[in-house]
């Protein structure tokens, strides 16, 4: 199986991706995870302004068969959510790194970025996951 992994993004072991922008970070679900979940039918978004903690559940993503948490990769405040997902949750399946983004956040502790994987590390990680 070939899963799409994008250069320039940061990745977590729970299969979230982070894109750093000037105003903060954009967070979404990786191609690998959307494929494992199958057709996504419902997304529960965090409230704007909510305080998130790294490693804690920030959103819930549900496919026909399964419920999955999306964990916040960083500690900080939600600055925006992708409301398109309320009507079109399947955008996470069709374009996980683009139109399927989930929320934006600001964060204070740059050190938290060190614990995240880059493209090459994450690619290696999902190969290991597949072999489990």
């Amino acid at each position: 199986m070939n899963y799409k992994v994008i250069d320039g993004l940061k990745y977590t072991k729970k299969h979230e991706w982070v894109r750093l922008e000037e105003s903060g970070a954009v967070v979404g679900l990786c191609d690998y995870a959307q494929d494992k979940l199958g057709e996504i039918v419902f997304v529960e978004l965090p409230d704007e302004g909510a305080q998130l903690e790294a490693g804690k559940s920030a959103a819930v993503i549900e496919s026909v068969k399964a419920v999955a948490d999306l964990y916040s990769p960083l500690t900080g405040k939600v600055t925006g959510v992708n409301e398109e997902l309320l009507d079109q949750p399947e955008l996470i399946n069709s374009d996980p790194y683009g139109e399927g983004w989930v929320f934006k956040m600001d964060f204070n502790d740059e050190n938290e970025l060190i614990g995240l994987m880059d493209k090459e590390e994450y690619e290696k990680f999902i190969v290991e996951e597949e072999e489990k």
Binding site: G38, E39, V41, F42, E44, V60, E62, V64, K65, V67, L86
Partner: protein, 367 residues
């Protein structure tokens, strides 16, 4: 790697890109690359092929086979003719459910029981424990492969594989020696999807050949493979119970609304008869209802259902329904407290989501 017993169609599933899971000890595809939603749509509009070889088969033969089975099942087998199939719960003396099964009457003294995979061993033990009279039991599960061909085009696909007529197999009837692609099969007009369709029982040796023949003949009719995920959604849309959800040793068939499969007045007494009669007289506490979500949220098994200040019951099965484009569920609710069209609340991750009680089945075919 997922491990488990392989059905004779294991390699076919891999070739189709099936996502394999362990279901009741068997390695089976939960879905294929086209996705569960497309598999459901194709079953409703065209035709799909399911591997259901995990289902168990028990042969019951002998001069007293019918009277023995009458004691074991809640439905009335005296109404079951040769070459016909009857659905029935099997109960414990307290009315709890051992399993829900299909009974095939091949001849007067030769029956085939088709049981759920998860219950196959437990069922065989239960039937053995209760054995009496001139009856022989055989667990044939290891010898049979089973396919379900389901959807409005299923008759055409099947007909193109045999010189015998299949159109005259009525609903819940079967032919026990149908020649399919050169192999002898038992073929019944049954299924678990709410569509017209057939279930094909064959030997493990013939299995691969039959799959290939159906596959080839089906291409003209847009046949595709479908997995366990689609099967579960299809049966929920058609409001068919699933053991472990709507039926269990703690739930009785009357609660699940299966009254017409429980012959309380059957002349022969059967396991659970007295308990079920009593329950019917005294009134049940909870009954199975259909729900559709009003607020957007996915109702799932185990979620509690209530109204403003009361707990009403729990969801036994729930899903997104691709056919209706709604979120639907079956729920055991306090039936004295609710009625059709009532608004209720489903508790999802400690938040309340509005739902409405609607009639079942959620989906009924119109042909």
């Amino acid at each position: 790697m997922v491990e488990g017993r392989k059905t004779p169609f294991y390699e076919k599933h891999l070739a189709q890109g099936g996502k394999m899971v362990n279901y009741s000890g068997w390695l089976l595809p939960v879905q294929f690359p086209q996705g569960l939603v497309e598999e459901v749509v194709n079953t409703r509009k065209k035709v799909s092929l399911f591997d259901v070889s995990h289902m168990g088969e028990i042969s019951v033969r002998g001069r007293e086979a019918e009277s023995y089975l009458q004691k074991m099942v809640t439905n009335d087998l005296s109404r079951l003719k040769n070459n016909a199939v009857m659905y029935s719960p099997v109960c414990y003396p307290d009315g709890g459910v051992v399993d829900d099964i299909l009974v095939y009457r091949i001849t007067n003294d030769n029956f085939l029981l088709v049981v759920n995979a998860a219950n196959a061993d437990k069922d065989f033990d239960w039937f053995l424990e209760n054995l009496s009279g001139d009856v022989g039991l055989d667990n044939l599960s290891p010898d049979y492969a089973q396919l379900a061909l389901q959807g409005p085009e299923s008759e055409k696909v099947l007909q193109s594989l045999t010189s015998e007529t299949v159109a005259d197999i009525g609903t819940y009837h079967f032919k026990s020696n149908l020649d399919l692609a050169g192999a002898k099969c038992l073929v019944s007009r049954t299924g678990y999807t709410g569509e017209d369709g057939f279930e094909v029982y064959c030997s493990n040796e013939d299995a691969s050949k039959i799959w290939d023949a159906i596959w080839e003949a089906g291409q003209k009719y847009s046949l595709s493979a479908a997995g366990l995920g689609a099967r579960d959604v299809l049966r929920l849309e058609a409001s068919m119970p699933l053991y472990g959800h709507e039926l269990s040793s703690d739930l009785n068939p009357l609660m699940a609304g299966l009254d017409r499969f429980v012959a309380l007045e059957k002349a022969v007494s059967f396991n659970g008869q007295e308990a079920l009669k009593r329950q019917k007289q005294e009134g049940l506490t909870r009954k199975l209802f259909g729900l559709e979500m009003v607020d957007r949220g996915v109702p799932r098994e185990g979620y509690s259902v209530g109204d403003e200040d009361r707990e009403l019951g729990w969801i036994s099965s729930g899903s997104y329904s691709p056919t209706l484009d709604k979120f639907i569920a079956m729920a055991f609710l306090d039936h004295k407290a609710v009625q059709l069209n009532d608004q209720v609340k489903v508790s999802i991750r400690s938040r309340s989501y509005g739902a409405r009680i609607i009639r079942m089945p959620f989906y009924r075919r119109d042909y």
